[in-house]
Amino acid sequence: MNTWLLAATLASSLFAGLLIFCLPERSVRLRTTINLAAALLKLACVAGMLWGTEQGQQYELRLPFLPGNDFLLRADTLGLLFMTLSAVLWLFTTIYAIGYLEGSPHRSRFFGFFSLCVTATVGIAMAGNLATFFLFYELLTLATYPLVVHRGTPKALAGGARYLAYTLGGGALLLAGIVGLQSLVGTVEFRFGGVAALRDAGDPIVLAALFALLVAGMGVKAALFPLHGWLPHAMVAPAPVSALLHAVAVVKAGAFGIVRLVYEVFGIETAQSLGVLTPLAVLAAFTILLGSFRALAQDDLKRRLAYSTVSQVSYIVLGVALFGPMGTIGGLVHLVHQGIMKITLFFCAGNYAETLGIHRVSELAGVGRRMPWTTAAFTVAALGMIGLPPMAGFVSKWYLGLGALEADMGWVLAVLLLSSLLNAAYFLPILHSAWFDPLPDGQPGTTTTAPVRNEASPALLGPTLAAATLVLAFGLLAGTAWSPLGWVERIASEAYSP
């Protein structure tokens, strides 16, 4: 019981992926069935582990791998948070992708790698030590590359090449950091409070340098400045890929890695004493502002959202870098909230592109009349990103602000405020234009009395609305124990008193 739920969670998408690779292009129904069945199975397994952990059950799977480093899977509270997010969003994205790619070539290949991608993400969530984490981290790179280059156009291949260069480089740095750290303290298994041997493992400068190396390695995927250059170019991928990459898989994996690093490898106390938290906070703050500024200048909708991701994921890193439970709560809960909000936005972008052929912000005038539901979802998510209550985004920013005060870093408040203003600057005009501007001439139904509706198909609209509902729900129900916030508060209490 303890081990096979973990294995089943991984195996569901792994075997689904392998099966789908073997399917011929035209067996649409079978492929759809396998996809959905696997997604639901994974969700069921995660739910099972959630319930089991509530009852006090421990989940662990240990196999020999490298000498001294086992292949270790665990379901701890932090991992479960990420796992649940991945499983839920995978279900949404699968449904979305089935609708989006209808009639496209190479769907078996796409969904095969799609499933492998989620396997890797869940593996990252479940990894119990650095070696296993690294295994799934690199697997993620390999599984996502074919998705980025899926269309086979020169732009796609160029984007893919850049993506690989960045992520493999990051992987190399990460490997160096891992081996270096383990040469000092032996095998590193994740536990809150950090590895005990690290406190007196030697020269603080060496430890700080190793920390920097590890952060750099994970920071590539987390799109931390200056390692974020791959993200906007990876927008050439189909919308479901962008949604998955930017809400769940790649960027979150990087951020999640940094979270594990600070709380469960070094331990927040040791990190504070090494003095590495402040530089990390500065870097995160810089990325937040840089991303927002660059987003302002983008006319391509997906690129604007990409830079927004660059900015928003750094909130998580910022939360981690703020010493104190409030900051931790803010950062970790934003892991979930940003995922939900960003996936909603990308779903909407995909809807606009698929249904009306709109790719640019400037083309969004009056689209609220033609696609009201999608635009409503977009509004909810955008307001959340700006940080307006009662959306989920407000909760994260509130706690980050509290965390900044707690850690005596008042300047962070200014950053948060400025960033919210910038978010408003690049989202509010879109909303205004979409709802209140007249439709451009030449489109059918340009009279103001009865514009023709062209809403997205149900397969595309369903996940969009579901995600938008979650954005509202997580914000409104943030006080309950079952919301992401309640859960994160539990994690934070474990992190500060292991």
Binding site: F21, L63, P64, F65, L66, P67, G68, N69, D70, F71, P105, H106, R109, A131, F134, L135, E138, L139, T141, L142, P146, V149, H150, G152, L157, G160, A161, L164, L168, G169, G171, A172, L173, L175, A176, V179, G180, Q182, S183
Partner: protein, 485 residues
Amino acid sequence: MTEVFLLPLAVLLPLLMACCVHVSADRFARPLQWVGALGMATLVLALVAHDAPMRTVLGGWEAPLGIELVADRLAKTLLVFTLLVYAAVLLYAEGYFAQSPIEARRFRPLAWLLWAACNAAFLSDDLFNLYVTLELAGLTAVGLAALSGHPKALAAALRYLLAALLAANLFLLGLALLYGSTGVLSLRMLAAAVEPGTASLLAFVLLVTALALKTALLPLHTWLPPAHGGAVTPVSALLSALVIKVSFVILLKLWLHFAPVLDLVVLGQGLAVMGALAVVWGSLLALRQQRLKMLVAYSTVAQVGYLFLPFAWLRPGTPAAAVAFDASVLQILGHGFAKAAMFLAAGVLLRAAGRDGLEGLQGAASRQPLAVFALALAGISLIGLPPSLGFSAKWSMLQAALLAGQWPWVLLLLTGSLLTAAYVFRAIRYAFLPAPDVSELRPVPALMSYSALLLAVLAAFGGLGTATLAAWLEIEIAGWPEALP
């Protein structure tokens, strides 16, 4: 008791098979190979199942007069490795030579002879016997390289032969010097009897030079790319995966026996530095290639460099030595499986496309997905991404470097991985391009893709068994230098 017959049989059975397939008609040769392969598999399994180290004295003549065959755990690992590579290559060759029976008739006996030579080299512990097996492997390899009779293949085979002959004479000279000063040829007796000093060191350097030439370490590598890239595909796989490993394993054995007696620190660093240069230079050259098989051949030059890095850390009595030994074995296995898989997959893709340039790979991701997948998996092991054998090798090398306090090697290992990724993905990205409209695709038997995939899976996922393998081999290196069998 019967185990005594198993070791010589490991050499005699392939020899017998070589003769049989040579004289039999084509329609008997194919089933005969199946019988032979099954026989070899049973034999190797029986050897592995016997846990203790095995030693057979041939003809009843004990050393130093006679020849011994020794099967320690390292030898058993290598025998299994050879078996797996051969199983895949022979399977592949049946499909590959289906339309060219003349080449098949040349290929089969030479391939089995090469198997006999490899097994003999892995089982020998006597310096002169190692020389003979080295020669046998070299000459059969030259014959295989010249298989097609094409002028370029002939030229490459001639260049290979001359390099092999030069290496043979250098080896013999070193052997002569050692024999002259000690009077014995068995490796463990040599290690006991040799006098540390310049003369012995000179002899050892001669041996090392000869073996480095046969393993194509920079700068003695120029014969390899034309020979490996220009041969027919099953031969390329055998050459890159097995033949260069034979000379390397001999070098490793010599090192393990002699390092406790002679001062090899400088030589070790020198070999490692040349290895590092090979990694960088070979990768850069591979990046510039326009033809797939030449890219893979230059990749061998680079990967051979990795084989020589552990010599910087194989110092007796240090904690890094055991890890460095593991790294060598893992690199042998990882590169062998991955490179053979890569050549076999490349052969499938080139045959399907009908031309040998990289642009022939366009659209292969949808037309020959198995072969592309095999190529990608093999590439994963070469780059060193987990959970491949290549990754375990690099992980061990990183650990050994840090244990030995020589952390600059970390930089090289990471750079090497990135350079390898560059040329691997350069080849693979072509497969994702849309296929050109006019496609003269020739049908390729699926069996060929599956044999490539088998080896590629072993390479890409073999790393999961690293802890088990390292624990099994530990007895060979724990407490080095005292515990050598």
